[in-house]
């Protein structure tokens, strides 16, 4: 128990902070922060598996998050029949062409000995394939995008329940990680960072500009939710009864019937949004706890020990007969798949898919700060990092505003410096996050909760 005291203290402090937000700002905001903290925690678990367990640096988190989000659209949106009729067949043929291309390239690489001719053959296959793809897809894409462009203009999804998309997101992200890992894992650490950063950028630009897939920058709104809708809740009698019971003391003080009804209505509206957010919190918490148990078990299993051995000394682990390349690929896929789940969770939570919002600052670098601040190699630390950094990221602006007001209180309202500072309060979050990272790297490089090796 003793070894867990610092973990428990750290988490208690974190939850107290969130509760304080609930008391001072509003419960709705506190729950929003908590939900995003939980999503960030899933991302940091994924990044921590790669960086903390295996020492692989993956700056492509944004790409996997976006793929997870894409999965939500592809799984849960109802299919657009008209679009399938006009262009579906061609798109399926295109998929076939891509598969044939990949297989024929693999075949040539396997069967023909390394030579100049082989390179030309591969290049020829790629060029012919791309020409074919454009020839087949161009008219189809045009006609798909012409189907009610204001509302649909894309193929739609499968129309399945949205929770399936979390699994699909994991598979999509894992699939991309397989390809990326196959080609890029041999690179030295900082090259791997740059390569993954740029590959993620390519993935996002494809999602942004291929409108037939997920409407691109036109966004998909009104996605399904695994939780009830506020409007329905406000109409259902059991919910109104529940709210009435919960606030009976407060309501009993009001005498007039019409006034009572008005207050109750307001309470129901507030409570419905809190209730929906609580539903999400429950779902996200389940995911975080399952992942935490699994990763914790894995970390202290023989497999986890092997991963640490590979991380600390690749040559020695290789000499002991461990297949370093294979294990690196495996862990790269696992970590990315978890990030994919987080991406799907986030889009589900927001109810909309906005490819334009995927930027490396928010989805790659902030996640990395979380992992490093929290504690690399320690799952509890990584999750805590997700909580702390997200909390700082959201609350930095109000806190900065408070301090700006405090320090410039003696200046008149219209003072230029004061107005300028107040207007730039949102940017203090970058300063806070950056300083946090620099301070932690300098004075506690192992993070708030350092890695713990339990020896049996």
């Amino acid at each position: 128990m003793r070894q867990y005291t610092n973990v428990i203290t750290a988490y208690l402090i974190m939850f107290t902070l969130i509760i304080l937000v609930g008391i001072f700002q509003s419960w709705s905001i506190a729950l929003t922060i908590l939900n995003y903290c939980l999503i960030s925690a899933v991302m940091t678990i994924g990044a921590n598996i790669q960086w903390g367990y295996a020492g692989l640096i993956n700056f492509g988190i944004m790409g996997y998050t976006a793929l997870g989000g894409l999965a939500v659209v592809l799984i849960s949106v109802a299919p657009v029949g008209e679009a399938w009729r006009v262009g579906g067949l061609n798109m399926i043929i295109c998929l076939g062409v891509i598969i044939v291309m990949v297989y024929s390239i693999r075949l040539t690489l396997k069967k023909i000995a390394k030579s100049k001719n082989r390179n030309y053959l591969v290049a020829a296959i790629i060029i012919i394939g791309i020409l074919l793809l454009r020839l087949i897809s161009e008219p189809a894409i045009e006609s798909i995008e012409a189907v009610e462009p204001a509302k649909t203009g894309f193929l739609g999804g499968l129309g399945l329940p949205v929770l399936f998309s979390w699994i699909a997101g994991a598979f999509l992200a894992g699939g991309l990680a397989f390809v990326v890992g196959k080609v890029a894992l041999g690179l030295r650490a900082d090259y791997l960072a740059i390569a993954t950063l740029l590959i993620a950028e390519i993935v996002v630009s494809i999602i942004k500009h291929e409108d037939w897939l997920a409407r691109g920058v036109k966004n998909v709104i009104g996605l399904k939710r695994p939780a009830p809708y506020e409007i329905n809740l406000q109409k259902s009698p059991w919910f109104i009864d529940l709210v009435e019971k919960f606030h009976s003391g407060k309501l009993a003080l009001i005498n007039s019937v019409s006034e009572k009804q008005e207050v109750l209505n307001q309470l129901v509206i507030d409570a419905s949004s809190v209730y929906v957010k609580l539903c999400f919190t429950g779902l996200f918490l389940t995911v975080v706890i399952i992942l935490l148990i699994v990763t914790q078990k894995a970390l202290y299993s023989p497999w986890g020990r092997m991963m640490r051995a590979i991380r600390d000394n690749e040559e020695a682990a290789g000499a002991m007969g461990k297949n370093v390349v294979k294990q690196h690929l495996l862990i790269f896929i696992l970590g990315s798949a978890i990030v994919g789940i987080a991406g799907a969770m986030m889009v589900t939570n927001d109810g909309l898919f906005t490819p334009g919002s995927y930027r490396p600052m928010r989805y790659t670098f902030v996640i990395w700060v979380m992992v490093i601040v929290g504690g690399t190699g320690n799952n509890f630390g990584a999750i805590l990092g997700g909580f702390v950094v997200w909390f700082l990221w959201v609350e930095a602006a109000p806190i900065a505003l408070f301090f700006i007001n405090l320090f410039t209180a003696h200046l008149p309202e219209t003072n230029e410096i004061r107005v300028h500072l107040i207007n730039s309060a949102p940017y203090f979050r970058f300063l806070v996050i950056g300083t946090a990272l620099l301070v932690i790297m300098r004075f506690r490089p192992q993070g708030i909760l350092p890695e713990k090796i339990i020896k049996n």
Partner: protein, 336 residues
């Protein structure tokens, strides 16, 4: 005649813009490569450092304009470059002193330094946004065009016009001057040689009495000059927006690695490779082909290899391909 028209089309829409953009990338890429070669880490704050220097140029330009100082037909920003560079070098040296020096002395692995540079990136971005805000700003004044399309048409009697913006000419000329001075310094002076020695083999360089502190100092000074010039030229040619500068880090990295990281000349050429690839692969060649092909063969489509939306993706794909097949870069940089 049609053939000349076709050439003019290419010059106007691809070659001149690519040369300009390539020069801007090249300056940034040399900055990345110098830091990588001598301080031995991938600097993720590259774009924001360039933005930081440019910010001073923008502010000083506004200040000079309010004083009524200008350079006539040249942009006022050119006189602000020395002052902006000075501020930039001060900033870089203080960052080095308070942040990077500790890890250099401890001999931390490059990954750790790269991570620290992410922290520097956040802080720099915050400072920039707090001082100047995230808005889009133009600070170009003076004569906009050297050669206007209509003037060119009158002069030559061709169908197609050729436009040369003054910023394009300024960019190319200043880049050439700055880069030649830098190569002269690196190759011919004693300090430059000691820098190259330090980059090649740190231990041997220390053994032969090279002062590492001096090498690091000179590196930051050169990096500061290049970063500011590159940033200002980009801002003059397009516009100044902090977010865009952060994004430019990616093609700059691509240029540095394609050219062989650690090799300044490679980085210089890498900038042009990336710029030309981006523009050639996303240009719609329809007009070009209508001129050179006989009428019967005229193309119906845009004749565009990739949509312009994928401009960035092109440079990243080149980088990925280079990393996979020739990780030391086209022009052989440091072996990995």
């Amino acid at each position: 005649m049609d053939f000349i028209n076709a050439i003019i089309v290419l010059l106007n829409y691809t070659i001149i813009p690519a040369l300009t953009y390539g020069s801007q990338l090249a300056l940034g890429a040399i900055f990345v490569t110098l830091i990588y070669g001598i301080l031995r880490f991938a600097n993720f704050a590259t774009g924001d450092m360039m933005s930081f220097g440019t910010m001073f140029a923008v502010l000083l330009t506004y200040y000079f304009q309010s004083l009524g100082i200008n350079l006539g037909i040249f942009p006022t920003a050119l006189i602000t470059i020395p002052l902006a560079t000075f501020m930039m070098i001060l900033y870089m040296l203080s960052i080095d002193k308070f942040v990077f020096e500790y890890y250099r002395i401890k001999k931390s692995p490059p990954v750790q330094l790269a991570m620290v540079s992410v922290g520097v990136m956040f802080v720099t971005q915050a400072i920039i946004r707090i001082i100047i805000g995230p808005a889009d700003r133009t600070f170009l004044d003076g004569e906009k065009f050297i050669l206007k399309a209509s003037e060119f048409k009158e002069m030559t009697g061709l169908n197609e016009g050729l436009t040369i913006k003054s910023t394009q000419a300024i960019t190319i000329v200043i880049t050439m001057i700055a880069v030649s001075i830098m190569f002269w310094f690196l190759n011919k002076t004693k300090t430059g040689t000691s820098m190259r020695a330090y980059s090649d083999n740190e231990d041997l360089a220390l053994l032969s009495g090279i002062d590492p502190k001096k090498v690091v100092l000179i590196t930051w000074i050169i990096a500061g000059i290049l970063a500011t010039i590159g940033g200002v030229l980009y801002g003059l040619d397009k516009s100044y927006r902090p977010f865009v500068y952060f994004n430019n880090m990616l093609p700059i990295f691509a240029a540095a690695i394609v050219g062989g990281i650690g090799n300044p000349f490679g980085a210089f050429l890498g900038g042009y490779v990336i710029a030309f690839a981006e523009i050639f692969l996303t240009y719609a060649y329809k007009k070009f082909f209508t001129y050179i092909l006989p009428e019967a063969l005229e193309p119906n489509s845009m004749m565009q290899i990739l949509s312009t939306d994928y401009k960035f993706a092109v440079s990243f794909s080149i980088l990925v391909i280079v990393l996979l097949f020739r990780p030391s870069g086209i022009f052989k940089g440091k072996t990995l």
